[in-house]
Symmetry: C2
Subunit: 460 residues, 2 copies
């Protein structure tokens, strides 16, 4: 159904309306990669959505892990076939627990007050759909698609993308392009549209201690130690209360950001009061008494976080045992120069030195950090297109490093492209938490940004 | 069916065989007090078992909590009606988790190689049944029951006996006696029969930290702290790796044991190698490098143990969150002079002083410690009767303080009686753990010890 007689705004609105059930059905796939749920049906659905929009597809599955979907839309006759944009997205989502904190079913898309709630909607199913709609709007227009567009849609992002590097390396010719639009992004607490051009890396560990083959009556605590105490002391030795990592070598080899990146970050305006309100924080920001700003911490400082703890009796009431086993999830966000394998090495050395040889350390996920050149034509075009859609330069923020992680380093290493994000999230999207959401207005604006960017990029 | 023509041994064997299904049905009640499961049906069954043996009963339920069953058997015509023994037992048991470590159903009594497995069999349903069988054997004998026997069977022992003190205080006249046989006990790693005449007290806490109203994407760990780190640092501040409690005031007011108690403890022979084997311990005893012995630690030193930890994501794989909540179970075993309420006060003060005002501290269980006079006729008769049954003085050990806890202090305070244990447990009974058990041979000997004791006590 060509839309050539309508404005872009109207065309986009019509596509959103027309393909709503298809979008919602995509959201209904509980495609939780860390639990290996619903992967292949979701792959098939992603393939169909690209084909329905008019693209070619290939499902790549010969490098292990969950399949990667490749999509391709050639530039229209009036477009510039020498320019190619790569869209990186992922079809997998985080687990939905804690279930009892969701106000509607986690995998049933539900609209309340103009906000669409569903696990994975913000991270990042809506962003994939935004790109498809932008392509459709342009293909339906008189001018046609202004440049070539490729998709790389993977299914292990929420599990640390353990196989993505192998696919990008092997299929580097297929994915060759002039720049990559990243999967996430959106507006901050003050409704500024933030374009991320780098990510932190990650080293995510299981720490496991076993002290006995059976839980023991706690009366024997006078002479027998237990796994919960061992783990508690091991963890406490890793980081102090003020967020300083105490592990020798953890901060080694960090690459300092460019002066331009520092300036951009210094202009940032993270609204800590608003974040405190949104998350209901009971403590002040950790940076309160330190010599760097919130913006610098988010962009340039590595972190070490306990994401989970489990040992012994955890139900209501009392049970008097020495737990035989204790485990923790430890999540480190890395910056350029840090290598997950080296972080594993220095953590192991630290534990051994502190007498915690009994604490098993297992690297579950490793990803390096990445930063794009902020001044590249690709990044600048993403920015100027955003300024047209989101209300001018004062409402658009460039960010050298997203505090989150992603497999961006592979795109630099194997494809040699700059990367910039465009997403329809907002400050309360609650990615990874219960009641994850996007606002329908942001969703529509996201499509318009991608339309504008593709139009502009043919001349960049 | 009078047994007057048989020996005591034969009479006891016949009773054990005859009442086997009744015993097993008692074990089948999953009477988990901390989870409020099956309490009233178990009370009714306990009452019936006493009545079937020929005793009078009263169910006391006017002081709150789970009912207390009172039982009474008067001395026979040839016995000494001026002597009264009180049996203290409990019909509640610990929770059965972790379920996957049981080799047979936790609440289905199962015999393998002469060993009876069931949750609660060792702690302490078998001991209650042992006493009933001893009474029956004596009532069936020509001499009849040698003294008066009373029962106090409560249902909140595994929950810290929060209401028992009120019942004993109110019904002190009903429970008046010359001494109390305690609910637990049995043989140690070297098959010595151990008689406990005191217990440690207990202060059991929930520690809870909430850092936000929602789990937060862990990328924000650069600026936002989380409940798991707060709890880890709070716990690590309470006790060092070598089992020294670091809380000011924790060790205050401790009553030193008598010289005789010290001598008895010094003669103890805890077999740490055997305990290490049985429990599959991965670490040496905590006392290894300290200036007190294992025996002294178990008898005279208070403990602080983490019995449980829970925060954030605890399943397989990874989830990258800042947990909004973290909680721990903290179990302190106290010695005479320590008061649970004061332990709560000094812990709270310590947490506040260390900057952990956000860590909520909830006292779930509080019990004081207790020690009997080892030289009293009651304790000495329990001992000499044991020497007759268990192979002479070299095989019987007096212990001033069991390292476990129990509400013994109420019996001293309100009834003014000495207390001594007699139980059919053994070193691998695994009370509170999976595959809890008693050996059938120990069960039979337990009946014989109680028969011998009741015979001897009429003359004590």
């Amino acid at each position: 159904m060509p839309m050539t007689t309508t404005t872009t705004d109207e065309a986009v609105k019509a596509i959103i309306k027309d393909r709503n059930e298809e979008f919602f059905d995509y959201l209904r796939f509980a495609s939780v990669s860390t639990q290996n749920r619903n992967i292949l049906p979701t792959v098939e659905y992603v393939k169909q959505m690209i084909e329905k929009t008019g693209g070619e597809t290939q499902v790549l599955d010969d490098c292990g892990g969950n399949p990667v979907v490749y999509g391709y839309f050639p530039a229209g006759k009036k477009g510039n076939a020498d320019k190619t944009v790569l869209f990186y997205n992922h079809y997998d989502v985080q687990p939905e627990d804690p279930l009892d904190e969701w106000k509607s079913e986690p995998f049933e898309p539900t609209v309340r007050d103009g906000i669409l709630y569903c696990r994975g909607v913000s991270d990042n199913k809506a962003n994939f759909v935004v790109r498809l709609y932008a392509i459709q709007a342009l293909m339906d227009s008189e001018a046609g698609l202004p440049c070539n567009v490729k998709f790389l849609v993977e299914g292990e992002e929420e599990n640390g993308s353990p196989n993505l590097g192998k696919y990008i390396k092997k299929y580097a010719d297929l994915f060759t392009s002039d720049g990559c639009i990243w999967e996430f992004g959106g507006k901050d607490e003050e409704e500024n549209f933030v374009i991320q051009t780098g990510v932190k890396g990650m080293a995510y560990f299981d720490l496991i201690v076993e002290s006995a083959v059976v839980d023991i009556h706690s009366s024997l605590g006078a002479v027998i130690d237990n796994a919960a105490w061992r783990l508690t002391h091991a963890l406490a030795s890793l980081r102090d209360k003020d967020n300083h990592v105490l592990v020798d070598g953890f901060y080694d080899n960090i690459e300092h950001p460019s002066d331009y990146a520092r300036e951009v970050v210094a202009e940032g305006k993270v609204n800590s009061k608003e974040m405190t309100r949104i998350y209901g924080l009971k403590h002040p920001f950790i940076t309160k008494d330190l010599d760097w700003s919130t913006e610098e911490a988010l962009a340039f400082y590595p972190t070490m976080t306990i994401s989970g703890l489990l040992s012994g009796y955890t139900e209501e009431g009392t049970k008097t045992v020495l737990p035989r086993k204790a485990s923790a999830k430890l999540d480190c966000r890395l910056v350029p120069g840090q290598d997950p394998k080296n972080i594993e090495r220095v953590l192991r050395r630290h534990l051994d030195k502190e007498g915690f040889q009994d604490v098993e350390l297992i690297l579950l996920k490793g990803l390096k950090a990445f930063r794009s050149d902020l001044e590249s034509p690709f990044v600048q075009t993403v920015k100027t297109a955003a300024e047209k859609v989101y209300g001018g330069p004062s409402k658009v923020v460039l960010s050298p490093t997203n505090p989150g992680s992603g497999p961006m380093a592979y795109f630099g290493e194997y494809l040699n492209v700059p990367v910039a994000s465009s997403g329809c999230g907002y400050a309360e999207s609650k990615a990874h938490g219960p009641n994850e959401s996007v606002r329908l207005k942001d969703f529509e604006e996201g499509v318009l940004h991608m339309v504008q960017f593709l139009k502009d990029f043919q001349y960049a």
